[in-house]
Symmetry: C2
Subunit: 153 residues, 2 copies
DNA sequence: CGAAATTTGTTGTCCACGTCAACAATATCG
DNA sequence: CGATATTGTTGACGTGGACAACAAATTTCG
């Protein structure tokens, strides 16, 4: 809304800018929605400083204790190299730990620390808040419809 | 699929990693879909080196010749500062131009060059290919359903 | 068995992108 | 007119994705 007030230099009384072919590009709208969702998520979880990516990592480790970085990487489609640094920060904050994997000397068995578990609990509560807000923004029917039809890829 | 072959170090015969609470987070699936779409788009348009963001800029300029950078920025939710550099590259490549705006000395009237128009024509054809592939991947019904219910934000 | 190939975690590098602050030129408002 | 706002621009910072290269460990297979 900051610019709709002025901007009279165009044709005459043409208020809105046309999206043109973008209206037929699903990717454009998926992107816009994704950005909105992430911004809202980040805002709501700013008090505990957990990003969407960090949240997904914590959730998957909690649901699969002892899994390896390669497995986690493949599950979340986060590059192995990127995951290394992501886990480094979580470990620095005392939320996760890499234990030696019994049997395979290359692997690390990932686990949440006690702190990690408690942070995850709070994160889940805030994420649920975010999800509720999203549901309200979209409308319950549309929300359910999207959730049901989006689990692909 | 590259890792499911090995990875026997976990419990015993537990093939898949659990997503846990992520299954109830719409944002997670929106993100995954968006990443898939962008990668496919980038791949299909790699021959003319047009990114999703560049494509959206070209499309909107073509649909609204003479609009200002601020209007374009607000329309596509691209930061003004970021847009400056984006347009700089497109101008370097001879695809867009910034004409002086009649009346307002601060604004630039954005236009496609002749080359820009021809590149956009090819880009639209490739984008249509991408869109067709996406439709096939999702299934026609699901595709339409998502497109119809995604124009929000 | 032992050499070759593969997997895993890691580091380094490069580029795209979002964000924010600051600024000059211009326009608008009071 | 002076104060304020808008527009385009530059600079700087941090994050993220993508690749290449590597060492250690494991698996494959002749």
């Amino acid at each position: 809304m900051p610019l709709r007030k002025s901007a009279p230099a165009r044709r005459a009384s043409e208020p809105a800018i046309e999206l043109g072919d973008l209206n037929e590009r699903l990717g454009y709208f998926v992107r816009r929605l994704q950005v909105w969702i992430f911004q809202d998520f980040i805002r709501l979880l700013s008090s505990i400083e957990i990003s969407p990516a960090q949240f997904s990592v914590l959730v998957v480790i909690a649901a699969n204790p002892g899994l390896s970085q390669a497995e986690l990487s493949a599950t979340l489609a986060i590059e192995r190299a990127r995951l290394v640094r992501l886990l480094h920060r979580l470990e620095q904050r005392g939320l996760t730990q890499r234990l030696p994997s019994a049997g395979d000397g290359r692997r690390h068995a990932l686990q949440l620390t006690r702190d990690g578990q408690s942070v995850l609990t709070r994160a889940k509560a805030l994420a649920a808040q975010h999800e509720a807000g999203l549901k309200q923004k979209l409308g319950a029917e549309r929300y359910k419809l999207l959730l049901d039809n989006m689990r692909i890829v």
